[in-house]
């Protein structure tokens, strides 16, 4: 069994969620490397795009922002923000988009906070704000969220709902008037989680080698069902090779 780092495991876990033909919306950082890994391993017909409107960028060097010039070079189309979000809200293309995101807080229905901790008007900690996250979460077929597995991040109640997950349960999105998509999975430094088809509540799908379900629960602010969880398959040699040689050879993101 090959050696691998936690970041590599998380990246591969996300990459495995991407299906061939998906239109993959990602930011920079680990989400982009996961998208690149999927494209090179199991989803050759997927297309990577950024909210800034760049489609299918070559990414010879790792960009440090979605506006980085490295995102603009050798793309299929250099569009603009209006184009990029329209493609996600579009009724034909939107359902095929999988969005990869991150957040400061998440609740059991996969709603996300990336705006503020504490009172909105007098925040204890202020973050960057939605950016395109709320738009992506509103529009697209499936979202994958990267989180640090900490009690203060997996909370009963978000301080601010920046991006809609399943809102308050199975009918939440429908009642709000949102499109049919929603959160598909959450990937942390300990585990992978999905959302129950019926209740739309988060449940444990996989625990990383060496991590017990109890440890996972100990680091969350709410209970989730762990009965369906299996140990996550470690990255294969082939997956690691592609990841290391093709996606981030300089290890700017993978460390």
């Amino acid at each position: 069994m090959p050696d691998y780092t936690l970041k590599e495991l998380m990246t591969i876990a996300a990459a495995r969620e991407i299906r061939d033909g998906d239109i993959v919306f990602c930011g920079t950082g680990i989400s982009m490397v996961a998208a690149m890994a999927a494209k090179n391993i199991s989803a050759p017909n997927s297309v990577i795009f950024f909210e800034t409107g760049a489609i299918d960028s070559l990414l010879e060097e790792v960009p440090l922002a979605v506006s980085d010039s490295r995102v603009m070079f050798w793309t299929s189309v250099n569009g603009n923000l209006a184009d990029a979000f329209a493609a996600m809200q579009n009724r034909v293309t939107g359902p095929h988009v999988v969005g990869i995101m991150g957040a400061a807080q998440i609740d059991k229905y996969g709603n996300l906070n990336s705006t503020a901790i504490g009172d909105y008007f007098k925040p204890k900690v202020r973050f960057s704000g939605s950016g395109g996250a709320c738009d992506v979460a509103s529009f697209v077929g499936r979202t994958i969220t990267f989180m640090q597995h900490e009690k203060r991040k997996f909370v009963q109640k978000l301080d601010y709902i920046t991006s809609p997950g399943w809102l308050d349960g199975p009918d939440g999105r429908k009642k709000a008037g949102l499109p049919a998509g929603g959160p598909a999975s959450v990937i942390t430094n300990m585990a992978t989680m999905g959302f129950d088809e019926t209740t739309k509540e988060m449940y444990l799908t996989g625990f990383f080698p060496g991590i017990t379900p109890q440890k996972i629960l100990d680091n969350m602010g709410f209970e989730i069902d762990v009965s369906r969880a299996k140990e996550v398959e470690p990255p294969t040699e082939y997956e690691l090779q592609i990841l290391r040689e093709k996606c981030d050879p300089q290890r700017l993101i993978l460390g």
């Binding site: 920079t28 950082g29 909210e51 800034t52 409107g53 760049a54 010879e60 060097e61 960009p63 440090l64 922002a65 979605v66 506006s67 980085d68 010039s69 490295r70 995102v71 603009m72 070079f73 050798w74 250099n78 603009n80 923000l81 209006a82 979000f85 809200q89 009724r91 705006t115 503020a116 909105y120 008007f121 007098k122 925040p123 204890k124 900690v125 202020r126 973050f127 960057s128 704000g129 939605s130 950016g131 395109g132 996250a133 709320c134 738009d135 509103s138 529009f139 601010y160 709902i161 920046t162 991006s163 809609p164 809102l167 999105r173 009642k175 709000a176 008037g177 949102l178 499109p179 700017l252």
Partner: protein, 325 residues
């Protein structure tokens, strides 16, 4: 509207003429790219204050204007400068201390708000943010809105689809138009008549420009009109939308300008360190902005060596192999 065939003007004059205390302003660019930094520094130097600022995901420009105390109100989707400052530091401090009033939108909503302004309609519809606090929580209160005719009475409105089941969208969020007093963008090329060509991703700069009463364009190259007319498919903003054209090489520095130069990791990292400490930040303002005559003086201070390092490679449009730690 400026109908002159020669709108070229110096930056100091352009800012003096079109940017006033308390005005509603938007700046172009995105996080660490093509922010109109020379204009931002000039605004700070002219100690313009009480700005009502609009941006979608604008990092460095927004943070420096806030840090220098030019901004009292901000409507924004995202305040971050990529990996150099995942949340803009002076923005974060100002919001946490309650020094500025901030109202949150999403990137698409801000884009649509500029687009509505550009199109001359009071709102546009989207399905984004239904069920979220972006709708529920207003940064500006109803009272403040009612008292100020320059802000719409409602932040956002949710309406039932008047066409029933058409389009399978039972509810829509209506986002109100933005029509700033002035928008400032930085472009790769412009001519003296005001025609603008941006290269690479253009973010929402076109909508931002077309939605404003006045537009200042700073540019890397001020070219002859015929240069732009030879390839008009690549030009985005017509002359009649532009009031002032200012030739400012490296006008986006320290942010990137595709095909001309990269962001300066050195500057942005140093900036963050200054920004994190209130006392040091005063030194920064003095040494890098107030104490300098103009943008050229900043570039001189930075030195040719560092500018050479971020010079864009011809093939790719960025500085290949640049040390970006």
């Amino acid at each position: 509207m400026n109908i002159s065939k020669d709108k070229s003007i110096r930056l100091k004059e352009a800012v003096g003429k079109y940017v006033a205390d308390g005005c509603h302003m938007s700046i172009g660019g995105f996080t660490a790219s093509r922010n109109p930094m020379a204009a931002v520094y000039e605004i700070i130097r002219q100690r313009i204050d009480n700005l009502h600022l609009y941006a979608h995901s604008n990092g460095q420009g927004v943070d420096e204007l806030i840090g220098a105390g030019c901004v009292s109100r901000l409507e924004i989707a995202y305040a971050g400068t990529g990996r150099f400052a995942p949340t803009c530091v002076r923005f974060k401090k100002a919001v946490q201390k309650g020094e500025i009033a901030v109202e949150d939108y999403s990137n698409y909503q801000m884009t649509l708000r500029f687009l509505a302004g550009a199109m001359g309609v009071p709102f546009l519809p989207t399905r984004s943010s239904l069920g979220t606090d972006i709708i529920a929580k207003w940064g500006f209160s109803s009272e403040m809105r009612a008292a100020d005719p320059r802000i719409p009475d409602q932040k956002l409105m949710v309406m039932d689809n008047p066409f029933g089941s058409w389009g399978d969208a039972p509810k829509l969020v209506l986002v109100p138009a933005i029509n700033c007093d002035v928008t400032i963008i930085h472009a790769q090329k412009a001519d003296r008549e005001g025609t603008v060509r941006m290269e690479g991703l253009i973010f929402s700069d076109v909508e931002q420009a077309k939605s404003a009463k006045h537009v200042i364009v700073t540019c890397e190259e001020l070219v002859e009109p015929d240069i732009l007319k030879a390839n008009p498919d690549q030009n985005q903003i017509p002359s009649f939308c532009v009031d002032a054209v200012v030739h400012v090489p490296h006008g986006a520095y320290p942010t990137a300008c595709y095909r001309y130069y990269d962001y300066d990791p050195n500057y942005l990292n140093e900036y963050r360190r200054y920004a994190e400490d209130d006392r040091l930040y005063k030194t920064y303002l003095e040494d890098f902005i107030y104490g300098l005559k103009d943008h050229k003086a900043l570039l001189d201070k930075v030195g040719r060596g560092r500018l050479e390092k971020i010079r864009a490679d011809k093939r790719t449009g960025y500085a290949v192999g640049l040390d970006r730690r």
